[in-house]
């Protein structure tokens, strides 16, 4: 592999000069610069980032560690983060934990060893060993889609309690007295918060709540949960799902069983992913500003890796209900 030395020798200059050509072209004479550049071209020299980083002590890469790339919500978060980073000439690499604690741990360790510039985190497990170790590594990080105490780190999130409440209130107002709640794994703060929101509205409302915990946050888990809902008697007349993938799965189960939506079963999802509006029955959903979440978090992280870091911030966005066919009001 061709290094700076080879270029230097071939161009008849010192390695310092080659380095200057690459990093501060203006300090080297035009003739020399061109000569060196053409040798670089000729030899196909590519600078070795690990050596550069070893010397510089800091990387030019930012990472996004995401809960589940299979969820279009997180893809939008990633897009927002990419936009912010690219506008400052920083590349973002995406790591997908797929909600597996060990995968997450392995990525955290890798990112710490890489000494990346900073990490955007949407972790499964904030308390685990891997996370503890990562904290000590001194790499700046910002939480996305998860609020944390201000003394720990900055965070950019959406008020999930409000979101859960929004959904529950909507179902109450559209006349439902028995409401199902398909939640995801309660290890996730998001799920616990949405649950809290639902309960805060339903408690004392007279409505009955039937909880179902899905194993995952994907369509298959939703179908499974849908089957369980169908088996209940009495069966709820409406269901709120902790995200749209679950809701799509539940919807499929209903369609498959010939249960009419929304007449026999109203459905509310969460995230308002692009596919929610295009579903068999367009889904009512709680919209989160995913792209802005990613962009804001990335901007904050970039700022925190600068010379004079700004103060920590806990930004909390407010979710918004988007009403569609799946909860059409009965007459």
């Amino acid at each position: 592999m061709v290094g700076i030395k080879d270029v230097a020798k071939r161009a008849g200059v010192s390695i310092g000069t080659v380095s200057n050509v690459v990093n501060r072209p203006h300090v080297v004479a035009t003739a020399t610069r061109n000569r060196v550049l053409s040798v670089i071209q000729e030899l196909g020299y590519v600078r070795d980032e690990s050596a550069r980083q070893l010397r510089a002590g800091r990387s030019r890469i930012m990472a996004l560690l995401v809960l589940d790339l299979g969820n279009p919500f997180f893809v939008d978060v990633a897009r927002g983060a990419e936009e912010a980073a690219h506008s400052q000439g920083i590349n973002i690499i995406t790591c997908n934990s797929g909600q597996r604690v060990e995968t997450e741990a392995s990525y955290l360790a890798m990112l710490a060893e890489q000494r990346v510039r900073g990490v955007l985190l949407s972790p499964v497990d904030t308390g685990g060993d891997a996370m503890q170790a990562f904290r000590r590594s001194g790499i700046p990080y910002v939480f996305v889609d998860r609020k944390v105490p201000a003394d720990e780190a900055s965070s950019v999130s959406v008020d999930d309690v409000a979101g859960g409440a929004l959904a529950a209130r909507h179902l109450l107002e559209t006349g439902h007295g028995h409401i199902g709640f398909v939640n995801g794994p309660t290890i996730l703060t998001q799920c616990r918060d949405r649950d809290a929101g639902v309960r805060s509205v339903l408690t004392g409302s007279g409505a009955h709540l039937s909880g179902v915990e899905a194993v995952g946050l994907d369509v298959a888990s939703g179908r499974d949960a849908g089957a369980r809902l169908l088996g209940m008697s009495p069966r709820p007349t409406a269901v709120f799902c902790a995200n749209d993938l679950l809701a799509l799965g539940v919807l499929q189960a209903m369609v498959g069983a010939g249960v009419r939506v929304p007449d026999e079963m109203a459905i509310v999802g969460y995230d308002d992913i692009e596919f929610a509006g295009a579903a068999a029955v367009p889904l009512t959903s709680v919209r989160q500003p995913a792209f802005r979440l990613g962009r804001t978090a990335a901007e904050q992280l970039l700022a925190e890796t600068e010379e004079n870091p700004p103060p920590r911030r806990q930004e909390v966005f407010t979710p918004e209900l988007v009403v569609r066919e799946s909860t059409r009001v009965r007459r």
Copy 2:
């Protein structure tokens, strides 16, 4: 930041010993090993990968450079690649070019500078400068979802010509004489191949083909293309879309305009993403084995980065038609 030296000093051993504790624990005496380990724990030492890599000359990270993470097809490819890599203790980082040539170029340069172990590529632009430079960097790479000549690199792809033909033949057989084809940007080989497949079947069949080139391969472009289809007269009675996102967009346009699917407009998509079956009208689609694509490509790449690389391979999978409501046969 704490380095191996700090650990060595604190534990009263040489840095060589600390390195041994980390990399070849068996060669160091139990007592020493434990002492060093506890100091590592206490100081929160994390090895610096750039130094390690500088010395070792090779990285332990593989990358996947993907055309569009917004397309669930590529998310499945990524999942397959992750599975293969993780099973061999290699981490995969995902980079999303979003079909932007400059973003792709910037990631290629970054990956070359990082000296990653290998790259899985689904590039927009195989001929551009960035790709040329990347080739010369000597980093092993394998193409995913794109066939290339065997002398260039290995590739794992799906026969897009056959896929296009499959769709066209299905529409012919279900009695359509005027077929629309919403294709993506023809800079993409996939789009050109699907087009070729369609034409190979339709030419001489007597059916009329109306082509529409969408600006992107996403739902919004599909809606746009749908509007253009609606403006045609005579209007096609069926449309094949180069991927499911486009098809979903076209479907939305039809639903919005009150055009019945499949009665007034049959629709065939491509990829068979999870959301295709859950759409307003479940979509007929050409299924590609996305997960296997990713896994197979990653396995091949891993093998090629080993001591004795196996010969290059051009694996081509065969697509499969999944018939659903959106092309239900008229009686």
